[in-house]
């Protein structure tokens, strides 16, 4: 019996130095050539050794979709589950095994459509999960229907006259769902992607990382405005904790708070308003400003899209609370005695 118990108490530290190669499985990667998923895979495999965790204590859980093939390519433990349910499955794993580093890989359809319920509840519980949400604003694996993040009017095979539904902003949704860590990054910016992943890994509790990811088959160029050097000036707002929120050519634009409504707005920076430029505080207890930042993005043009860590606050982690209750119960009632439990307080004896 001791053996199995020991197994459940392994300490997640790597004994030897690891390299990117250690995290590559022997399986051939089968995404379309040119897919943004390759870049994310390389970034994850590349930064994993830096975490210094024993790779046998790392688990990738995914749902269904192109990105959900991810676990097969990681030489860690992994589960490719069913559509939308990865956060639920990962919740069971993380809450029963605190010695594991559990990562969820999901997409915009998987996480926000069929699995929307599990995503929001994982976030509100603050289970110790790192959720990588690959957002390509399209359904890739089913060959090109619009997704819950597609812009209104999207022409696809299922919406020949244009889609009718307003899209989700995943970052706004996560903040609304009480997320303690929310970030956004882009597949093509390896350095930014890696820094955000590392911040997520360091966060105790649920971390949601939205990764803008190009589907070069069904939605090619969806994020081009954020990648093209010139156009990105208008599109991308890079957030850094403790730094004024400035963007545009030579930081000519900035974000200020409207004194009347309290909302945020983009302004051209002048000598008069420079002192009013908002300083990004990812650790602000109130989610209000992080939410307002997330709303600056225009869902159609992607102008004024903040990337980086929008919110990173500490609050109690579900798995820890659950484990604490188990400990408290033992303290208060003593370790469970099966014989006493079965006997109860109200029994009688029949003599032979």
């Amino acid at each position: 019996m001791a053996e199995t118990n020991e197994l459940l108490q392994l300490v997640p530290k790597a004994e030897a130095k690891q390299s990117m190669k250690d995290f590559k499985s022997d399986q051939e990667v089968r995404w379309c050539p040119g897919c943004g998923d390759y870049a994310v895979l390389a970034a994850v495999q590349g930064f994993m050794p830096d975490l210094g965790l024993a790779k046998e204590n790392i688990v990738f859980v995914s749902g269904i979709g192109c990105s959900s093939r991810f676990p097969y390519y990681m030489n860690t433990y992994g589960m490719h589950s069913i559509h939308g349910r990865a956060p639920a499955i990962a919740t069971g794993l993380a809450s029963s095994r605190r010695d594991l580093s559990v990562w969820v890989v999901t997409g915009d359809g998987d996480a926000l459509s069929i699995g929307g319920n599990h995503l929001i509840h994982a976030l509100r519980r603050n289970v110790n999960l790192k959720i990588l949400l690959f957002n390509n604003r399209i359904y890739g694996l089913t060959k090109g229907q619009y997704s819950p993040t597609s812009e209104v009017g999207k022409i696809t095979k299922s919406t020949p006259m244009g889609s009718l539904d307003a899209p989700f902003n995943p970052v706004s949704l996560a903040i609304g769902a009480e997320a303690s860590f929310v970030a956004r990054t882009v597949d093509s910016d390896r350095k930014h992607l890696t820094s955000v992943l590392r911040a997520a890994a360091d966060h105790p509790g649920t971390a949601l990382v939205e990764i803008y990811q190009n589907c070069n088959i069904f939605n090619d160029g969806a994020f081009e405005v954020m990648k093209d050097k010139d156009r990105a000036q208008e599109a991308v707002i890079r957030l850094e904790h403790g730094r004024p929120i400035l963007f545009g050519t030579d930081d000519s634009k900035g974000v200020v708070r409207d004194s009347l409504t309290g909302d945020l707005q983009v302004v051209a920076v002048t000598e008069e308003n420079r002192s009013q430029i908002l300083v990004h505080d990812a650790h602000a207890p109130s989610p209000t400003t992080a939410f307002a930042l997330s709303r600056l993005a225009d869902p159609d043009t992607l102008h004024h899209t903040p990337i980086g860590v929008l919110r990173d606050v500490e609050r109690p982690v579900y798995d820890t609370l659950m484990a604490d209750q188990l400990d408290t119960a033992v303290e208060q009632q003593g370790k469970g005695d099966l014989g006493a439990l079965l006997a109860g307080n109200d029994n009688w004896t029949v003599a032979g």
Binding site: N75, S81, R85, S96, W348
Partner: protein, 651 residues
């Protein structure tokens, strides 16, 4: 409900039940001299009935506890509406609790009550059709006023218009007497009135010589934070007892001796199906030396298991109340991957939602218990009533060829053993397993011989610790789908084990390596192998109870065990041979089932569905099984089943 079908102590106790109501006094009737008469009875069926807010379930539970500790054999049938509080005084709001207790071994909660306690006109109206002539009816006369009677369509008072002439009616102003008894307590009228169920309990406890200390202890513990209310309830309880002793209307009290011969030596307690099931799960975790993990979503009539397991965190039990049914089983499956003994509890509608995840568990080949406390369906159906109509859902309710073993307990106490058995199969064969209980077993209760902990089966499993396969070049590797040649189970290697990192998923896997494979021949092989694994699960042979070489076999499964056995006793007592067998394992069936069935000219299958087991039997064994079915939300009555079986034999 303690005996086996083949018990030598078998009695035809229920043979004359319900033909004549009232309380039989087959043994000596001893009249006292000036004292009240005490009659000895061999068994009694009492039904407490009142409004949903009247506390009838609590009253029934307490009477049951008193009866259990007195040493009678017993069986109970709680029956309540799905609404928490239907409009007061209406027929849909009636809640009842039936209890059958005896000085010998009994099998069912009884067909018809000898005593009906009716707390209001609705309770009388809703239950009178079940009460045989000559039975005792105790009514709370305070409620038989114009409005409450009009509410349920009584134009004249049934207490006065002669319509109850055939019964022994005991009119008792329960409310007034309770308020009177509690006037020292300074409670409001409304507060005092609430104790009238305890007055009724006291009266019945006197009538049947029940021990009372435990009820008083129970009330003081229940209202520990409100000592005044506790004492008021104790006072009402005692007042009810004293009322019985002093009033002339109750001239007779009854003794039902302990069922000393019905019980093998041992220590006993009374237990409901859901409690026994919860304990079985905790015991399974301990016997497997694995932490127990429950992922669940509240649903009637399964929620009590979630509640119970949540109370036992000091056993290392983790309970997770998920956002929905799908997340409940999802979390359980995740915990199974991590090396927990994982469980999800639900009822039929929840199973429907969990189907896709059950299919994933079949594909992942991880141990997982799916507990389905069946209720009336389809859809929301009858949440608080019983049915056995999820058998085919458990058997086939998934896409693709997705075989899942099925285990079914036969009595409330048997839920304990069934849980251990389901865990054995799940852990040994690395498979999801269905446990099909139902509302009748879940809420019904009976005495249970408490097992010694060292009698429980050893369920320990070995997680895989190292490579299990050697490649042609001599490299040692881990193959997650390389099977045990005996059981066909695949290795269980949990995260945290160095060197065994592997990926599993719902896409078809290559035999051995577990890598994604779309190869047609491999898929054909894997489908057949998963089926062969389930088909090969070891289950005990079926034993038919057939003392007289009968030509007809009655075959049941699950909670119909009690009523079927009672019906079989009736037939045998009347000289009619009949064989009986009861299935615990529905998938796979016992190896000898086909051979047993073919021994008989006729096979009758009573079920609380439209013939689901009968269909499986017919399909698999080409036996002309005769189906006898009932789907009214209630268990079979022994009398009715006996008639049906006799007709099947004759027909």
């Amino acid at each position: 409900m303690t005996s086996q079908v083949s018990s030598p102590a078998e009695q035809a106790d229920e043979a004359s039940e319900a033909l004549v109501g009232g309380q039989r006094a087959p043994q000596s009737a001893t009249a006292g001299n000036g004292e009240k008469e005490i009659r000895r009875l061999d068994r009694v069926i009492i039904r407490f009935a009142g409004d949903s807010g009247d506390g009838m379930q609590l009253t029934g539970d307490r009477f049951t506890s008193e009866t259990a500790s007195f040493g009678n054999d017993l069986s109970t049938l709680p029956n309540f509406p799905a609404e928490i509080r239907a409009p007061a005084g209406t027929l849909p709001g009636v809640s009842s609790f039936q209890l059958h207790f005896a000085d010998h071994d009994i099998l069912t909660p009884g067909d018809a009550p000898n005593v009906l306690v009716a707390m209001n006109p609705a309770a009388l109206k809703a239950n009178i059709a079940d009460v045989p002539r000559g039975a005792d009816i105790i009514v709370n006369t305070d409620e038989f006023t114009k409005r409450p009677m009009a509410k349920v369509g009584y134009e004249t008072s049934p207490l006065e218009d002669g319509s109850l002439e055939a019964y022994q009616v005991h009119p008792v102003p329960l409310t007034t007497l309770t308020i009177e008894a509690l006037k020292e307590f300074g409670l409001s009228r409304k507060e005092a009135e609430r104790s009238k169920n305890m007055f009724a309990l006291g009266l019945l406890s006197w009538m049947y010589h029940r021990p009372t200390e435990n009820t008083e202890k129970f009330l003081r513990a229940k209202f520990a934070k409100k000592p005044q209310i506790a004492e008021a309830n104790v006072a009402a309880f005692r007042a009810g007892w004293n009322f019985g002793e002093t009033t002339e209307d109750f001239a007779v009290s009854y003794e039902v001796a302990p069922a000393t011969h019905a019980f093998p030596t041992g220590t006993y307690r009374n237990i409901s199906g859901n409690l026994a099931l919860s304990y079985g799960l905790i015991a399974a975790g301990r016997q497997a030396d694995l932490p127990l993990y429950l992922g669940s979503y509240p649903i009637t009539p399964a929620s009590d298991i979630l509640h119970e397991l949540s109370r036992h965190k000091n056993f290392g039990v983790r309970t997770f109340q998920a956002e929905d049914e799908i997340a409940g089983i999802g979390a359980a499956l995740g915990a199974a991957f991590g090396g927990s003994l994982a469980v999800t509890t639900t009822s039929g509608p929840g199973v429907a939602l969990k189907s896709e995840t059950i299919g994933l568990a079949v594909s992942l080949e991880l141990p997982l218990l799916i507990i389905d406390i069946q209720r009336g369906g389809p859809s929301t159906g009858l949440p608080t009533k019983t049915e056995q109509a999820d058998l085919l859902q458990a058997m086939y309710g998934r896409n693709g060829e997705a075989p899942v073993p099925i285990v079914a307990p036969k009595t409330p106490a048997d839920c304990f053993d069934a849980a251990l058995d389901a865990a054995r199969i799940a852990l040994t064969y690395r498979t999801p397993v269905f446990l099909l209980s139902d509302g009748y077993l879940a809420n019904g209760s009976e005495p249970w011989r408490i097992p010694e902990v060292d009698e429980l089966p050893d369920l320990r499993v070995q997680f895989t610790q190292g490579p299990n396969h050697e490649l042609a070049d001599g490299t040692e590797v881990f193959w997650p789908y390389k099977r045990d040649p005996q059981t066909l189970a695949r290795p269980w290697a949990v995260p945290g084990t160095p060197g065994l990192e592997h990926r599993i998923g719902g896409i078809e896997k290559q035999d051995g390596t577990g890598n994604i494979s779309y190869d047609p021949a491999n898929h054909d092989f894997m489908v057949r192998t998963r089926q062969a694994k389930v088909d090969g699960i070891e289950v005990p042979d079926l034993e038919a109870d057939d003392p007289a070489g009968a030509k007809t076999l009655v075959l049941g499964w699950g909670s119909t065990y009690g009523p079927i056995t009672a019906a079989v006793r009736r037939l045998r007592a009347a000289g009619q041979p009949i064989a009986q067998a009861h299935l615990r394992h529905l998938n796979p069936f016992p190896r000898n089932l086909g051979e047993v069935l073919k021994r008989y000219d006729k096979v009758v299958v009573p079920e609380m569905n439209l013939g689901q087991l009968a269909m499986l039997i017919r399909a698999k064994y080409l036996v002309d099984a005769h189906s006898y079915t009932q789907v009214n939300g209630m268990p079979f009555k022994a009398e009715q089943l006996a008639t049906a079986l006799q007709e099947a034999i004759d027909g």
